[in-house]
């Protein structure tokens, strides 16, 4: 690990100020990802700003209109909050997180902003090495099957983002000046980087995610489904899908279907949504939505099996949301 300055602000404003730094700075939330990256010197910030003593960032508030979750709330804090039960997709995504250590130390904001698991990146080769050729010509069994034509071929690692986006969450971002804040739909936080040095989001160094805001559930059905190599969900899923559905007269009036571990960002599947809206949820329509989701897939040399997994994950997320049998082990 390279020597670095450590800052421990007590307020949101102070945090924004301390992040504005002539050198590089990183936000430290739960530390489950950043510490490992720093130890391997994949990331070598000059300054680390810990948010753990900014009490306002840990607050969770729920009323009939909104469910506001501080970015520094741990995954367990969120899991245990009674309001989370109103959002089955979020509840299930958190429950699927089989690592007790990650759930109790990891924060919701950190979960959304963690860096990709791409093993070329983690072995010090950069994220977009050689305009993506490194991954395209290498072992890409865990890489993207969607939105992978550019240099970015990693997958967004977040396990809660698909659920939150399906549930129409927004994020409150602080900075770049003390007192500045922006609220935006969560899906807009993520982007597919095009050039080395670009992050997986376009926040400035002195901006950070402070809060996640969920609208009232309003009778929508929702579910998350993860496909795993391990049974306990301690590893990252191979593929995941989350769906939220507004039903009217037994048919889907509105849907949000989001794939995880499939693209460099959480992937909102227009194709799956179009296939299911106006139809009831049945094994056949769910299957068709899964087929539609992967109709635009562009698998790499070693990850064609993920196309099948994406199809199944979408199908099962829809069936699960509707309270139907999904098949499989769950």
């Amino acid at each position: 690990m390279k020597a670095f300055e450590y800052a421990s602000p007590r307020s949101e404003e102070e945090a924004v100020e301390l992040l504005a730094h002539s050198g590089t700075s990183e936000v430290l939330a739960g530390g489950t990802d950043l510490m490992g990256l720093m130890k391997k010197m994949i990331i070598t910030p000059d300054r680390v700003v810990s948010l753990s003593r900014v009490e306002s960032l840990k607050a969770i508030q729920a009323d009939s209109q909104m469910f506001r979750i501080g970015a520094m709330a741990t995954l367990d804090d969120v899991l245990e909050h009674p309001a989370t039960r109103n959002y089955p997709a979020l509840l299930q995504a958190l429950q699927a997180h089989g690592s007790l250590q990650m759930r109790s130390q990891g924060t919701l904001g950190g979960e959304l902003c963690q860096r990709p698991r791409c093993w070329y990146f983690r072995n010090g080769n950069g994220l977009l090495t050689n305009r993506g050729r490194h991954v395209a010509e290498g072992d890409n069994r865990f890489h993207a099957i969607l939105d992978n034509a550019g240099p970015a071929k990693f997958v967004c690692p977040s396990r809660v983002a698909p659920a939150l986006i399906a549930l129409s969450a927004s994020v409150r971002v602080l900075g770049p000046e003390p007192g500045d804040e922006t609220e935006m739909p969560l899906e807009l936080l993520f982007r597919t980087p095009k050039h080395e040095g670009q992050r997986e989001h376009d926040l400035l160094a002195n901006q950070f995610v402070a809060q996640i805001v969920l609208p009232a559930v309003d009778g929508r059905l929702s579910a998350s489904y993860e496909v795993h190599h391990d049974a306990g969900g301690q590893d990252y899923p191979l593929l995941a899908a989350a769906a939220s559905l507004a039903m009217r007269g037994g048919v889907v009036a509105d849907a949000r279907i989001v794939l995880g571990q499939a693209a460099p960002t959480p992937w909102m599947s227009r194709e799956a949504i179009d296939a299911i809206v106006g139809r009831p949820i049945t094994p056949q329509t769910a299957e068709a939505a899964g087929e539609a989701a992967v109709s635009v897939a562009t698998p790499l040399s070693h990850n064609e099996y993920k196309v099948q997994l994406a199809k199944v994950a979408v199908k099962r997320a829809l069936l699960k949301a509707a309270g139907l049998e999904t098949g499989g082990f769950c």
């Binding site: 698991r117 093993w119 072992d139 306990g232 099996y305 499989g328």
Partner: protein, 732 residues
């Protein structure tokens, strides 16, 4: 004359019982100190730099900048310009720092230039290996019942005879099978803390071999082994990769000497996986013929394998495995790759041989539409006669524990629950496991204190507890009355702990030393009691006359007869053909039940049954625990773990714990262990258990998946990708 035997089953006090590990509390509470935990005052931290390239020539190395980093104590180049490097991670340089952080910063400041050379790591692709000039013909063997006629060309006869046998066979299976390379992934990485004092070195080395490594460390330092102490009370896993002091063990000792202060050098996780050993892969084309009963009549296999840069590795002897038909031909090809050299991994060669050949046996059952268990049973005609009955009985027990008969369905014909299908498979194995040379010093104090000393080590499987159990039984005392001292090269030597040789070795030596010491003590007791020493029995904390049990002394009273000085006896064990204490050679039958989701390729363990013989059981609890551990390791290499190399650069892509997949508790399913110890097995004495139960899971689980799907997933581990790719190829 002391007779070196075990007491009869009816006469034992603690031998064969179920006892907690005597070092369990120390391990659970953290008071047990591993090499990593030993931190002498003024210790400096050493870090090593691995080469980032898999095959290259070192053009230059510049350590000047590293030496200037604050807190850096010393920098050493470990390779010279012009040296060829043949695998990623091979050590280039070492930096010693006042702190770990300074050493790491120092490493980052080392400037090395490399000239890349051709890389080959794709060990499964034989055609590519041949094209790259990396394939070399290996050993082989042909055995045919018929002999060529006079003047007939041998090679021509061989082809003709094999063709005839396959033509006559009722069923022929032509299959491809594979098992990927895995690493040892020791929880405690390799390394040591070394101390230098008054011209002597102490190496707190994480080792499976305390008695054998002192010379390896002393020699390069210009010392004789008497000036070296190798100390290892606890080891966080070795699995066959920690027999040698290794260059990094020697380096730590050398640095301690040169810097005149203690130095700790432990490998990083990624380096441990890259350079400290791997289990060789194996891939095979297997053609097998059987008669209409499912009995194998002919076998023809070609396997290719790699031991790293030098090629070789997987022995020809394990093909075919256990079930050997009367006619067979086996060929091997050795592939040289730019991967770290292989090392022994629990039961060297056997897990691969079993996974590559007993899968083919099961495919015969599938082809004939027969019950796999029945086919394995009928093929007992193809195992050595001396072990047929054992396997047969173990099969019967395993089948009962698995409820095989009720659950069995032909391959691919089970009832699906949604997309989930279930299946069962089995395998059988063998191992030697005779005891290694071992000496034990027993010391009985006049106040009744009892201790022993052996230059052995506890791999975590219960060696201390085994020694304590043997001596407690010998002296008629409770287990906690015995203080066991192991883990130092200064104690009477024992062999390295590998190949399941430790339990036989230390049971032999501690029983010998215990009985020898007891005989001397009994002389004094006999004199005091006016009894015949040969009639004395040590049991229940007393030494008494077997003809008059009231005539005896409590243990402490007996010991007080020793006078001022303790009684000390050192004896060697005598394993071998004439020993009544230990033996070698075991079987073992395993059965697996799995569930597979056909849509996602996820495989889940439902149940695993292991029936294992091991001669005489010393401690049932640690024996069962060792089998459980082996099954978990077996599940790991069957479903999860593999070394993943980047074909283009030769980089080891998953060399960290997060990416090197291992099973967790939820992945294990129900494990059922049954120790097979009838009187005739017990009478053989102690036999090693470490290796055998880890051999069968690959074949058993592969066979279960095949039974569930009706399709062979040819290569282990059977990840969702492997399963789905196989199903897709099948449907295409």
């Amino acid at each position: 004359m002391v007779e070196y035997v075990w007491p009869d089953r009816k006469d034992v006090s603690v031998l064969g019982g179920s006892h907690d590990k005597i070092d369990g509390p120390a391990k659970c509470t953290g008071t047990a100190k591993y090499s990593y935990d030993i931190n002498p005052p003024k210790m400096a931290m050493a870090r090593v730099l691995g080469c980032p390239h898999a095959h290259c020539k070192l053009k230059s190395i510049d350590t000047a900048a590293a030496e200037k980093i604050k807190g850096v104590v010393a920098v050493r180049a470990l390779k010279n310009a012009g040296d060829e490097i043949k695998w990623q991670g091979d050590l280039i340089a070492c930096v010693v720092g006042e702190t770990d952080g300074a050493a790491v910063e120092g490493l980052a400041a080392i400037k090395a230039e490399y000239e890349p050379l051709d890389v080959f790591v794709d060990e499964e692709d034989l055609a590519a290996a041949e094209k790259a000039g990396r394939a070399k013909k290996g050993a082989g063997k042909v055995q045919l019942e018929k002999e060529p006629g006079d003047g007939e060309d041998e090679a021509e006869f061989e082809e003709k005879e094999l063709a005839r046998l396959f033509k006559e066979a009722a069923a022929v299976v032509d299959g491809y099978y594979g098992i990927r390379a895995i690493t040892h992934m020791c929880l405690e990485t390799h390394g040591s803390t070394a101390e230098w004092k008054d011209g002597k070195v102490t190496s707190h080395l994480s080792t499976q071999n305390v008695s054998g490594t002192a010379g390896q460390i002393g020699g390069p330092l210009g010392l004789t082994a008497d000036d070296v102490t190798v100390h290892c009370d606890y080891i966080g896993g070795g699995f066959g990769s920690k027999f040698a002091a290794d260059s990094w063990g020697v380096l730590a000792a050398r640095l301690a000497k040169e810097l005149d202060r203690p130095v700790k050098l432990m490998l990083d996780r990624d380096l441990e996986l890259k350079i400290a050993g791997a289990r060789p892969s194996g891939f095979a084309n297997v053609k097998v013929g059987a008669n209409s009963e499912g009995v194998l009549t002919v076998w023809d296999s070609h396997h290719w394998t790699t031991g790293g840069p030098e090629g070789g590795a997987l022995s020809q002897d394990v093909m075919p495995y256990v079930i050997v038909p009367p006619n067979f031909r086996r060929k091997t090809t050795n592939v040289s790759t730019n991967t770290g050299p292989t090392r022994a991994w629990r039961a060297p060669n056997h897990p691969q041989g079993c996974a590559l050949s007993q899968t083919a046996v099961d495919d015969v059952a599938a082809k004939l539409g027969m019950d796999s268990l029945e086919v394995f049973r009928r093929n007992l005609i193809n195992v050595p006669e001396a072990r047929r009955k054992l396997y047969e009985e173990e099969m019967t027990i395993a089948a009962k524990l698995m409820d095989w008969q009720a659950k069995w369905h032909p391959h691919g014909k089970g009832k699906a629950n949604g997309s989930v299908v279930t299946g069962m498979g089995m395998a059988m194995h063998t191992w030697q496991g005779g005891g290694h040379p071992s000496s034990c010093r027993v010391k009985i104090h006049p106040d009744g204190g009892l201790e022993c000393f052996l230059g052995s080590q506890d791999l975590g499987t219960g060696t201390r507890t085994v020694i304590a159990t043997v001596l407690a039984e010998t002296f008629g005392l409770p287990i906690d009355a015995v203080k066991v001292n192991i883990g130092s090269s200064k104690y009477p030597p024992s062999g390295p702990s590998g190949g399941s040789t430790t339990v036989g070795g230390v049971s032999e030596s501690s029983r010998h030393a215990g009985l020898d010491a007891l005989a001397q003590l009994n002389e004094k007791v006999a004199e005091k009691l006016g009894a015949n020493a040969d009639d004395l029995v040590a049991k229940g904390g007393r030494i008494f006359d077997k003809n008059d049990t009231n005539k005896g002394l409590a243990w402490k009273e007996a010991c007080s007869l020793l006078g001022m000085n303790p009684l000390e006896v050192t004896s060697r064990g005598a394993p071998g053909r004439n020993s009544k204490l230990s033996s070698s050679g075991v079987g073992g039958v395993q059965m697996a039940e799995v569930a597979v989701d056909r849509e996602t390729g996820e495989v889940r363990m439902k149940k695993f049954v292991a029936v294992q013989d091991m001669g005489l059981v010393v401690n049932r609890k640690t024996a069962e625990s060792q089998i459980l551990g082996a099954l978990i390791m077996g599940i790991a290499f069957s479903l999860f773990e593999e070394r993943i190399m980047d074909a283009k650069t030769g980089a080891f892509l998953n060399a960290e714990v997060a990416d090197y997949k291992l099973p967790r508790l939820g992945d294990i399913g129900e494990l059922v262990v049954e120790i097979y110890e009838p009187d005739e097995e017990r009478a053989r004495g102690v036999i090693g258990l470490g290796e055998p139960p880890v051999i069968g899971p690959g074949a058993a689980i592969s066979n279960a998946v095949c039974n569930a799907l009706g399709v062979r997933v040819p290569v282990l581990p059977m990840t969702p990708k492997q399963v789905l790719d196989t199903l897709k190829a099948r449907n295409a």
